[in-house]
Amino acid sequence: MAESRRTFLKQSAATVAVVSLPGCAPTAAERPDALVPATLRAVGEAVLPEELGADGRERSVAAFERWSEGLEPVAEMAHPYLVPETVFTGPDPRPGWAAQLSGLDIESGKRFGTSFAEVGVPERRRILEPHVRRAGPDFGRPENAAHIAVALAAHFFASPIATDLCYGRAIAKQQCRGLAGAGDEPAPLPGAAS
C-alpha cells in the first residue's frame, strides 16, 4: 500500500516536471522559490499522518502549495491589543524552504546515494529529525516555520480537517455553520477512530 502510493507520487511528480518544461516566461515551478513538488510530497509522506491515505496527503500537500503561493511577505498583521504599533509578518520564507528541499536531496544523495523522494520514509525522517527537533515542541504558525517540513505539518495540523480527525467528529471549526446545532455534540465522522 505504502509502496504503491510512492509509485503513484513518483509518477505524479514526473508529470508535473514534464508539464513545467521551460517556456518563455518562468512558470511558478521554475521560480527560484519554487517548492519542488516531488520532494515536497516526499516530505509530506514523512510528516503527515498515514491515516489520511495517499489522496488525503496529496490534498494536504496541494493545499499547502496553494497557501504558500498566496503568502505575502512582510504583510501587516492584526494589531496587538492596546499596542499602538504596526507589526508585520516576516520576510519571504519560500526561498529558504526551496533551498531546504534541494538540501534534502543533496543530503539524501550523500547519505543514501539517491534523491530524498527515492528513499524510504524512515530514511527521510532520519534526515528531517534534527530540523524538526529544533522547531518543537509546538508547531507555531506555518509561515514562521524555520523548516519546510515543520511548515507543511503545521499547516495541516492547524486545519479544520485535522481537528475533525483528531476528535473523530464533524466540528468544522471556523466554517460558517449557523447557530442551530451549536448545542449538539458534534456528529461522529463516518468510520473515524475517536
Binding site: A46, V47, L48, P49, E50, E51, W67, G70, L71, E72, A75, E76, M77, A78, H79, Y81, L82, V83, P84, E85, T86, T89, R125, E129, V132, R133, A135, G136, P137, D138, F139, R141, E143, V150, A153, F157, P160, A162, T163, L165, C166, Y167, R169, I171, A172, K173, Q174, Q175, C176, R177, G178, L179, A182, G183, D184, E185, P186, A193, S194
Partner: protein, 526 residues
Amino acid sequence: MSQVIESDVCIIGGGISAAMVAERLAERTEASITVVEAGGRTASLEERTATRARMLAYGENPYPNDHIPGQTGTGEMYQSMVLGGAAMHWGGAVPRYSPEDFRVRSLYGVGYDWPITFDDLEPYYQEAEERMGVAGEQGPPEYDPRSKPYPMPPLPLSWNLERMREWTDAAGIPFWTQPWARNTEPWQGRNVCRRCDTCAVCPTGAKYTPDFAFDRLLAAGRMRLHGRTLIRSLDLASGSDRVESATGFHQDAPDQPVEFRARTFVLAAGHSWSSHLLLLSANSRFPNGLANSTDNVGRYMTGHWFASGFIELPMRLYPGIFPNNSLLSHRFASPGPLDRYLRHDIRLWESTVGREARLAADDGRVLWGDEVMADWRARTRSTATARIRSYYDVIPTPESRLTLDSGMRNRHGDPMPRIDYVAGRATLDLEPHTHETLLGRFDELARAAGGRMMSTRASRLFEHPGGGCRMGDDPSTSVVDRWGRTHDHENLFVVGAPTIVSSGCANGTLTFCALSLMAAEEIAKG
C-alpha cells in the same frame, strides 16, 4: 485660504461613541450633523469574507489602512484610526457596569463616586443595546439588573459551554451567557450570526460595527462625513469661551486647512485623542489647553487589570464548536459588605491551550504523522482546558496621566500623546489580597470540577481604558458635567470613554455608548 464647512453639530471622531451621538441626534432633531474622522474607510462588509480568509491563513490585519502612519503615541492606545474606530476590531462583549461601580466611595470607602447612578444610566444602556443589537441572557436580577429584556435572545451555549455550565452550577457560582453585540435575529438589516468564529472580523455583518450606523445616516442624507481629516485645534470665538471652529487637514492636502464651524462641538475621539486635542488647543486664555482651567484634562486615566488562568478539566470538550461565546458571572461585582475591597467579574471560555497537536512528546522524542495524531488524541480524549479571567477595578489616580510628548511629533509637527498609566497606592496595597482571593476562587472552581489549575497570570495592562476628561459636579476635580458638557465651554461636549470616573470590572464600551447617548440628550436641547 481655508475651506469652511458649517453645520449645527460637528462631531470629531468617527468611532462607536460618535455613531451613537450621530444616530440619536439624526433621529430626534433637525440638526445638520458633520462627522470629521481622521482616518478613511477600511474593508467593507463585502470585502470582509476575503480579508477574513487571509487573516485565518496568514494572520494578516483584516482591516487594511486602518491607521495613520506617524499619528501614534506612547502607552496603551488603540492603533485604529478609521471610520468605525477600534470597534471595527472589537469582539462585541457588552456587559453593563454594576450599580456598585457608580458608588464605590459611598459603599466601600475607596475611589470616587460618579455624579450619576446606575439608575440614571439604565435607560441609555437599554438604548445602546437596541441601537447596536445585543443578544443576551438575563442573569440573576441582583447581579444583572435591567428594566427591559435584552433586545435579542442570547447566543446559544455550545455543547462545550453547556458542560461547563453544569460544572459551574455544581460549584454554586451563578454564570450566564456573555451578552454580545452580535445578532441572533435579523437586526436593522444585518444578518444573524452564522457561527463563523472569527469575530474580530465578521464576514456576515452579525457583529455590530459603527460603519453600519454611519452608512445608514449617509444614505438617508442625515449627516455629512469628512473622512481622512485630522482636527488639529479647537478655536474659541474672540472674547468668548465658546468654541467657534475646529481646524483640520485632509490627508491629501496637508497644507490646506479646513475649518468646521458649528453651534455645538462634540469631541468623540476616544480615550487618548480627546484629551490630546484639548491639550493641543491651548491658547492665551486657556494656556494649559481647552477645558483645562483646573488642570484635570489628561488625568485619572484608568482601566481594569486582570488575573487569568487555564484549568484542566476531566471531561471531553470539542474545540471549535463556538469558542467565541463564553460564560460570565457578575456575582463578585456586587459582593455586599466587604472587609477588604475587591470587586471582579469572572469569565470562562473553552480553550485549546495544552490540547494542540505538537511536534515532540514530553520526553523530547520527535513525533511523526500518525504519532502526532495519537499523542493529540491521548491528550484530548478525556481532558479539556478552560480559560478563566477576572477583571478587577484599578482605583483611579490623578497621576495616571496623558501629556503631550514633544519628542514625538506627527507630520504636522504636533506633539503626540504619551499616556503614563499609574495605579495609586490604594490599588497597589490591595493587589496581594486581590490576587490571593482571585487565584483561590479559580482554584476552588477548578476543584469543583475535579480539575486543576494549569497556570495563572496577573496582568497590569489597563484594559478598556478611559478617563482623561472625567465627569463630575465639581469643576475643580472634573472636566465635564454629567452630560459631558465641558465646565469651561458651554458648547463643547466630550463623550464616551474619556468621561468615565472609573472603569469598573466589566468591558467598557457599552458604558461608553450609554454615556454618549445621555450626552446626546443634552446636546439635542441645542
